[in-house]
């Protein structure tokens, strides 16, 4: 029973189905319980949370990753699956501590002040959440002080900053300087991204890493979390 349920969860992650309203892309899924409903059912049925995460969610995400690598899956598929895992993790959140499952880390993420662009930032947030990180998404046009406060209050291990404009990317440097002034720069890894940014720019302003896309962000965050 538990195994069958975990297999179903895995299949729904691969289909990228969050809830029963999602049709997936293969036939036969319409109206059927999807990742969130199945996770609720698993919890109610006393399925081991650790197995559910490892053999259902993570294993499903691994298949998705392989399909993406081979070109069978594209970004929408990856995002849909990551979103399904992220939603499942929200459902599982109250049960994680009892099951001895630790979060990979907290990520404060924001588009900096003066900039309203958030597609890239949102995609990074979905992918990081799907990879098992806890996301505190502050939105767009976020003043530096609010970002600093959030990093401090949440004791975040990561800060993701996004900007699409050459005029707003400079704000990233102000935030890093403010982290230093507040004495918490060494406690948080600063990841930056956005069209006008580059590894050179990241180095110049003192960020830890430049991420060209969401995959690089996940790869970097995983490497820090596993270190």
């Amino acid at each position: 029973m538990a195994e069958e349920l975990i297999e179903k969860i895995k299949a729904n992650v691969i289909q990228g189905r969050v809830n029963s309203e999602d049709e997936g892309f293969d036939e036969g899924f319409e109206g059927q319980p999807a990742t969130v409903e199945l996770v609720h059912e698993a919890i109610a049925g006393g399925v081991d949370v650790h197995s559910l995460i490892v053999d259902g969610l993570t294993s499903g995400m691994n298949v998705v990753g392989e399909k993406f690598e081979s070109g069978e899956y594209l970004i929408p598929d990856m995002l849909a699956s990551a979103e399904a895992v992220g939603e499942a993790m929200d459902v599982l959140a109250p049960h994680l501590q009892n099951a001895g499952v630790k979060s990979k880390g907290k990520v404060v993420i924001a588009t900096v002040k003066g900039d309203l662009h958030d597609i890239g930032k949102n995609i990074v947030a979905i992918m990081l959440k799907g990879a098992g990180f806890e996301i505190i998404d502050l939105g767009t046009d976020v003043p530096g002080k609010r970002i600093l406060d959030s990093v401090g209050q949440n004791k975040a291990e990561f800060l993701g900053l996004s900007a699409l404009l050459t005029t707003t990317m400079r704000e990233m440097q102000n935030i890093i300087e403010a982290l230093k002034e507040k004495g918490i720069r060494q406690d948080v890894k600063v990841m930056i991204g956005g069209a006008p940014t580059s590894p050179e720019f990241a180095g110049k302003i003192g960020a830890d890493v430049h991420c060209a896309d969401a995959f690089q962000a996940v790869e970097y965050a995983n490497s820090v979390a596993e270190a």
């Binding site: 892309f25 849909a80 979103e83 979905i126 998404d137």
Partner: protein
Amino acid sequence: MTQAAGKFREGVVVRKPFERLLSEEIRVLDAASTTILERTGILCFNEEAVGIFSDHKCDVQRHDERTYKVKIPARVLKDAISAAPTRVKLGARNPENSLLLDSEVPRIYFGSGSETNIWLDAAIETFKSEQDPGIKRRLPVFTERRGTVERLSTAARLAEELEHLDFFIRPVNIQDEDINEDNHDVNKFYASLANTTKHVQAGLTSLEQLDNVLRIAETIAGGKEALRENPVISFITCTVKSPLQMVDDATQKLIEVVKRGMPIVISSSPQGGSTAPIQEGGMVAQINAEILSGIALSQMVRPGAPVIYGSVPVRARMDNLHDMYGAPEFNQYNIDCIQMARHYRVPCYSTAGVGDSSVPGMQATMEKFFTHLPIAMAGAQYIHYAFGLLERTNIFCPVQAVLDDQHIGMIKMFLSAPRLGEEDIEGAIRQIDKVMDSKQKLYVRFVRKSLRQGLVYSHYPFESNDGEAGVIEKALGRMEELLSRPARELLSTQEDEIFEKVPGILPRLKRQGDRAVL
């Protein structure tokens, strides 16, 4: 798709075809062509045609010892043209690959052609920089080869696998040492039909071979009547040599094909600036008169004969008098002809995808796209020359055909009808509601099903950071994959029957065991 006409390829119905001519201009050109045929007349080299015109109240006078001047009165012309069917069905080995050409529906199909003499192979080689041997580049190298029955068979196999190729006209001439005038037709039709289940069309080299060619087609279709129901082959004849000369040989072929009830394209290909006026009005008035004279003759031979208005007007290039296809006037002439064919309610055979470039690359892509798109937008039912041609109509390059297939697919998708049904709109509103209720407000996940169903464009499959060399390398990979698929062979019983009934087909085209020996 299943309709009253049976199953046929969907093609794309162009919603609102691009028009260049106003109604008044169509009337002016129709009047000009009518005047040309009534007053100037055509020179006819074919005795039987002269007799037919004479029997149908045309004014026939001996012009010189070889030709007659035939003048077709306006009323006679009009009556004859109105007898031509508005719809022509072209069949196929696989009936689902049939084509329905309806002059009143701008449903477009793309196909190959013409009879090039050169087959251009491409391969990728690595070159070192002379200045810095550490710098290496992978570049395409092209090799010209003669057309052979083996290469024609390969072209037909490739055509079978190209998704957007709707019909097959042999793109390469067969020049094997054991091919002669007597066995040319049976081998070209057999090599084509044995390797593709799509419609096959060609001109006849020798009229004496017409009945042997029909025997091949009848065996495949299942008999004489079955072939007329499902004409797996059709013919092209360039009856008129511009300006306004109805030639003996091609005219006789038209008469004989029409007598046998098979579909035929009546084509003319004047060159603006040499064999027709370069000015648009004069060119279109003349080519229209030339095609109408052939259609009129066909309907006098057999009223209701299935014919197609074949317009291939080109521009002369003034530095060498070669045909010039990648020219703005080419589109002007051709779109005018598409409109004229629609005016007469006869399906239109048009032309796109020819350029002056001798190799695949930037020039070829530009020139091809410059005609592929506007001719499709104008709604010609049957667009030939669209795959793999280079250096005007001298070279066929299979990897170029693979590139063309991609580009034509993009054009077909662009011209497809919008999906704005009640269900589509309700679905869209549901999607918008869902996204507005979500945290990230992204539509990306809703792309997936449409992407897999081919309803949205993915990306250019031959994309490369190495410029056009990388694009060609990827297209070559695609071509190899397509040609590695199993061939759609004839049934062995059909093959045996054809070899028994039809003389002259090369024994090496017969399968031995599981595969053809090529």
